[in-house]
């Protein structure tokens, strides 16, 4: 179902994937947020793309909640028919953030996952080309966008 509005979508996805989704909320008009459990991330992603029409990958990025000892990886998806933007979120443990890659489902997430890896240290299992996107090749280590980043690792 492609042209749906936000409320219908939230109801439909909460009904059909209720055990995989932690929450599905409407933030405001044309913005929906779905927080999914880590185990079911691929299956719900496929459903989002095929059944609910979120075909366009906009971007992906992470947020570091260091006080709560978690990181959240957010994928921004767009439905070109109903023009709804979905933030597809998954919570990850901060000491070992790792999740399966979504490039199998939305190919263009490749660049964004590379950036999230180099900026936060999030591992994406199964990504075919995990080399740094923006950081220089002679980077001595450290994940810049983490909250406890103090600077590049010192020169040996």
């Amino acid at each position: 179902m492609s042209s749906v509005n936000e409320a219908e979508f939230v109801d439909a996805i909460s009904a059909s994937h209720s055990e995989s989704i932690e929450s599905a909320t409407i933030l405001r008009s044309k913005r929906v947020s779905v927080v999914v459990k880590l185990e079911a991330i691929l299956e719900v992603a496929e459903a989002l793309r095929d059944e609910y029409g979120f075909k366009t990958p906009s971007a992906a990025g992470g947020v570091d909640y260091n006080r709560e000892d978690r990181m959240q990886m957010i994928y921004y998806l767009f439905n070109p028919d109903s023009k709804i933007t979905l933030t597809y979120r998954v919570d990850l443990p901060r000491d070992d953030p790792s999740l399966p890659t979504l490039t199998g489902i939305w190919e263009a997430m490749s660049f964004h996952e590379r950036e999230a890896h180099e900026m936060f240290g999030i591992e994406f299992e199964g990504h075919s080309n995990m080399i740094p996107l923006l950081i220089t090749p002679d980077w001595r280590g450290g994940y810049p966008l983490r909250k406890d980043f103090k600077g590049e690792a010192p020169a040996e």
Binding site: R28, S29, R31, S58, A59, I74, P132
Partner: protein
């Protein structure tokens, strides 16, 4: 960067940072004769860590670095940040401020499209004549904007809550004069370049991006409109004064570089129409609501999408209790289009001479992609 390996019959050229036309990036082209076998983009030459910078600036101070993110189209980026701030802090914007915002955004969009069009024509090998003509026309717009905001490129004109200054005396008349002049020039450019036989030969059927691929690979802005899809943030979720303005969303059915260039070019016409409407019908009223210099925020988030000249930009702002945003995620259109550029050599046969044509038709601005 660890570069992928190549076989001996492939020649790897670094369309690299020292190059007359590459822009601020390095693109590795693997060539098999003249045909391009693979493209690997090496971004990050202008990475300034904008997202980290914004975490260390207050909401008001953050407007300054973020406008410098992509120097060619600054108001459209600034308005994204300012709208996200307003949404998260719950600030209302008066109507006149919205109309002035749209005016500045449209003027900047025209100037960016003129620049991009000039670069596209230069990329096809036309000794930079048309590029200099478009630069000369941009100067008129930049002079108008300097009169209004005090700066030619990066205006920092939008505040959370409105705009900084009101329109000066007689500004609307000058805007209408420029609109009439640019409309005449528009016709000249159309006949001189878009209907130029050799320009058509170079740009037609080059870099074809079918509508399915455009949607699947995340195209936005003029790229997806050049593949026939009417996706435009100004129409889908109107912000500033776009709900009250009358404009068409320009699409072109042919999915090649020429279509994208034409979309950008005809959008200049639509922007001129909007400028004229704004100059004629702008309502009166206050131009900003009070925004205290040091504002403490509550926990929340807001995602604002705006239509920059290059495509759709998203600013996702997370706030905690404090004077700085907790995290600002910037979704830039050029990064999405760089991925499409990498895949285009597989989707459609490209020779080395097509590389500048395609890159400029996708209008990738590396400052934008690297943030």
């Amino acid at each position: 960067m660890s570069e992928p390996t190549i076989t001996p019959d492939i020649m790897r050229i670094s369309w690299g940072p020292q190059h007359p036309m590459s822009g601020q990036t390095r693109i590795l082209l693997d060539l098999d004769g003249e045909k391009i076998h693979k493209i690997t983009a090496d971004l990050g030459f202008t990475h300034r860590g904008m997202e980290k910078i914004l975490e260390n600036r207050t909401f008001l101070k953050g407007i300054i670095p973020i406008e410098r993110m992509a120097m060619i189209d600054t108001p459209n980026i600034g308005i994204g940040y300012v709208m996200a701030t307003e949404e998260v802090l719950g600030i209302e914007v008066p109507e006149r401020a919205n109309w002035i915002r749209s005016l500045v955004c449209e003027m900047s969009r025209i100037s960016s499209h003129l620049y991009a069009f000039g670069l596209q024509v230069e990329a096809t090998g036309f000794f930079p004549a048309v590029f200099l003509w478009t630069t000369a026309d941009r100067v008129l717009l930049l002079d108008l904007l300097e009169e209004l905001t005090g700066a030619r490129f990066s205006y920092n004109f939008f505040l959370p809550g409105g705009v900084m200054k009101d329109l000066p005396e007689g500004f609307e008349d000058r805007v209408i004069e420029i609109v009439h002049y640019l409309r005449r020039r528009f016709k000249d450019y159309w006949t001189a370049m878009i209907e130029n036989v050799l320009f058509e030969i170079r740009c037609n059927d080059v870099g074809i991006l079918t509508p399915e691929n455009a949607i699947r690979l995340g195209a936005c802005g003029p790229v997806v409109r050049g593949s026939g899809q009417p996706i435009d943030v100004r129409r889908d979720e109107p912000y500033a004064a776009y709900a009250d303005l009358d404009f068409d969303v320009i699409t072109e059915p042919a999915c090649d570089s020429m279509a994208r260039t034409k979309v950008r070019f005809r959008e200049i016409g639509e922007s001129l129409k909007m400028m004229e409407q704004i100059a004629n019908e702008i309502p009166g009223g206050p131009i900003r609501t009070r925004f205290p210099l040091f504002t403490r925020s509550k926990p929340g988030e807001a995602y604002s999408r705006v239509e920059t000249a290059r495509g759709e930009m998203g600013i996702h702002m997370f706030t905690n209790v404090g004077m700085n945003p907790y995290r600002v995620k910037i979704n830039s259109p050029s990064l999405r289009h760089m991925y499409i550029f990498e895949r285009l050599c597989e989707l459609d046969r490209m020779t080395m001479a097509d590389v500048p044509v395609v890159v400029n038709s996708l209008d990738v601005w590396y400052l934008d992609a690297d943030r």
